[in-house]
Every structure is written in C-alpha cells, then in structure tokens.
C-alpha cells in the first residue's frame, strides 16, 4: 500500500506502508490493505503511519484523505511537528 502525505509546500511522506490511522472529521479510522475507495475530510490530529515494524506519527492541521486502489493520499494544510 502506497502512502503520500502532501502539503502545499512539500511532500512530507512518500512510501510503502502496512497501515495508516487518520484523524477523520467524524472520528479516527484506520486504513489497511484493500480498503474500499473513500474520500474523507480530516480534523487536526495525528496520522499514524505503520510500516514493517516501525511506527511514525505525523501531526497535521486538518486536511483530506483519498484512498483508491491501495493508494492513499493525504492532503494536509500544514504539518505541525
């Protein structure tokens, strides 16, 4: 599963992951392999990126996520770290 986190200024993250937890506007949810296509708005919060034993947290200031064919794209207005 491929994940990209993009802000207007830069590409914050790009790479293969096993699971992603995003702060949806109606509550956080997790995206695993073969997730159904979804478009959701995101609230301010943590994006948890899990890949092969490592876990990474990226704090975003609201945004949008699109999942399609095992490609996840997170559009964040800003990354707070």
């Amino acid at each position: 599963m491929h994940l990209e986190i993009i802000t207007p200024d830069e590409k914050v993250f790009s790479g293969e992951v096993t699971a992603v937890n995003v702060p949806g506007a109606d509550g956080a949810f997790e995206v695993l392999n073969n997730h159904a296509p979804i478009i959701s708005t995101l609230a301010k919060g943590n994006v948890k990126v899990k890949s092969a034993g490592t876990e990474k947290n990226i704090m975003i200031d609201g945004g949008l996520v699109e999942v399609l064919n095992n490609k996840i794209i997170v559009l964040a207005e800003a990354v707070l770290s």
Partner: protein, 302 residues
C-alpha cells in the same frame, strides 16, 4: 572640461555601482530559481485537490451551501494588493499600483467617495503607497517574502475569507503580477470573493480529460459529499491566494533580474564614455605642457 581628478572620481563610483548591480542580478537569479521551485512544489497538491473537488462535485446532487459564493450589493470593497517588500525591480511595483488606481477610479469610484474601499497589502511597497495616500489599509502582512511558505500566507488568506463571510466586505479583488517569463510580467486583476460560478467547473473540465475512468469509482464519502465540498472550497481558495503570492514573488525576482541586467549594461556604457573623456583630458593636459616647454625654450633661444 572636467578636471582629471573629477573624472577619475566618477569612474570609481560608476565602477562600484556596476559591481553592486551585477551582484544584485546574481542574487535575483538565485532567488528566482527558488521561487519557481516553490511553484512546482505546489503543483501536486493543487492537482490532487482540484481532482478530488471535481470528482466529488461531479456526482453531487443539488447545491452546496457556500458562504464564499454569496453575491451581495457591492458596497464595501477590499482590494488585496500584492507587491514586493523591496524596490529596485523596474516597473514591477508601479505596474500593480497603477492597476489598483485604475480600478479605484473607474469601477469603484462611488465606493471610494464614501471611503468604503480598503486595502490589504502583501508587501511593503503597496502598503507605503496607500498609507501615504491616506487610504485605509488593514492587516499587517509585511515581510512574508523573507521565507515564503504556505504557513506564512495562510493567515492572510484566512483573514480575508473571514472578513468576507462576516460581511465586513461585499467584494474582494486581488491584484498581482503573473509570471510569464523572466522579462515579462502580466498584471492580473481578479475577483477573489465571492467565487464566480465558472471557477469550479473549470477544474472539473480539466479533470475529465486527465482521468475519465475515475468517475466510475464508488467512493465512500465521510462525513458526506456536501460536507466535503463545503470543506474543500475554503481550502481551494487559500491555495488560489497562495498561488497569487507565489506568482508575484517569482515575477518580482524576474523583474529585478532584468532591471539589474539593464543597469549593469548602462554602467558599462557610462564607463566607456568616462574613460574616453579621461584619456582625452589627460592628453590635452600633456599637449598643453609640451607646448609650454617648447614655447619657453623658443623664448630662451630667441
């Protein structure tokens, strides 16, 4: 004719001016590259955002409640003027300021007479100009260009959008220089708010060409299609604002580069002339001296 010493002094000063303009040209070129990088870096975000916006609104039934599209009688006007913080960039700043004056004198002369036209200036040059003229300027968004990023520009865009939604202003116009190439800038005057209806379908049409198959996908929408569109519109507006600032920034460096290039050339011409004058003056002085000596010797012999 000027004395030798005077000419020598001028040569030295023109020389050092030329060095400065040359250095400024180099700096502007480096900064131009960086600002163009910024524009390129923004592209994936914009494409994705417009793609999703088109995708979601294409399958949406009915209108979304959109506070940014509210048409009101144009009584209170806000003009966003994007200039630079520094001068020495040719006609870069005066062009946008001229365009804004034009707008004031024609389209908004009635509102101006009532004092209902306010300015929000990005960049010090525009701010100084309208402060001097005594027109009301709001917000303090100067010095953004030192390290330009979306985070820096976002508060300005949000300020404008909030002011519009709170009905402090009925119309927002944005004036900036668009970057065409290093030597050419195009002054753009755009209505920023309320959003005109054509602004959204444009993104739609562009998307259809790129990925037509995408429309067949059945997305899950969370919270709902309408909410997503309502959420996307301000995001897209902020990006438009940022694009304007980025374009203006690239134009600024382009304009400065051309201006400084011309200045360096002019200095070169001037130096050539001065050197000629210097040599001529020197030669005249020598000739005069020889004549005096010869004249003296003749007198002694005589």
């Amino acid at each position: 004719m000027a004395s030798l010493k005077e000419v020598r002094g001028r040569i030295v000063s023109v020389n050092s001016t030329q060095q400065i303009t040359k250095a400024m040209k180099m700096v502007a070129a480096a900064k131009l590259r960086k600002s163009q990088d910024n524009i390129i870096k923004l592209r994936p975000y914009v494409q994705k955002l417009n793609g999703i916006l088109a995708n979601v609104s294409a399958t949406l039934d009915g209108d979304v409640e959109n506070p940014y599209g509210a048409e009101r009688k144009a009584e209170k006007i806000l003009i966003v003027l994007i200039t630079s913080d520094r001068g020495l960039a040719g006609a870069f700043n005066s062009n946008v300021i001229k365009a804004s004056q034009n707008l004031l004198n024609t389209k908004y002369s009635a509102q101006l007479a009532q004092g209902n036209v306010h300015f929000l200036c990005i960049g010090k040059k525009g701010l100084d100009f309208y402060n001097k003229k005594g027109l009301k300027t709001i917000g303090n968004f100067v010095g953004l260009f030192k390290s330009l990023s979306f985070d820096q520009v976002r508060p300005a865009a949000e300020y404008v959008m909030n002011a519009f939604v709170n009905k402090e202003y009925d119309k927002v116009e944005i004036i900036y220089n668009e970057f065409k190439n290093v030597a050419t800038q195009i002054v753009r005057v755009k209505q920023y708010l309320p959003i005109t209806k054509d602004d959204l379908p444009k993104a739609k049409a562009a998307e259809v060409k790129v990925e037509p198959s995408r429309y067949k996908t059945n997305y899950i929408f969370e919270p709902s299609q309408k909410d997503i569109v309502a959420d996307l519109i301000p995001k897209s507006l902020k990006i438009q604002f940022y694009e304007g600032v980025l374009e203006s920034n690239a134009s600024e460096h382009g304009a400065r580069m051309t201006a400084m290039d011309k200045a360096t050339d002019n200095a070169k011409e001037l130096l050539k002339e001065l050197r000629l004058t210097y040599n001529r003056t020197r030669q005249a002085a020598i000739t005069k001296e020889i004549l005096e000596i010869v004249g003296g010797a003749e007198a002694l012999n005589g």
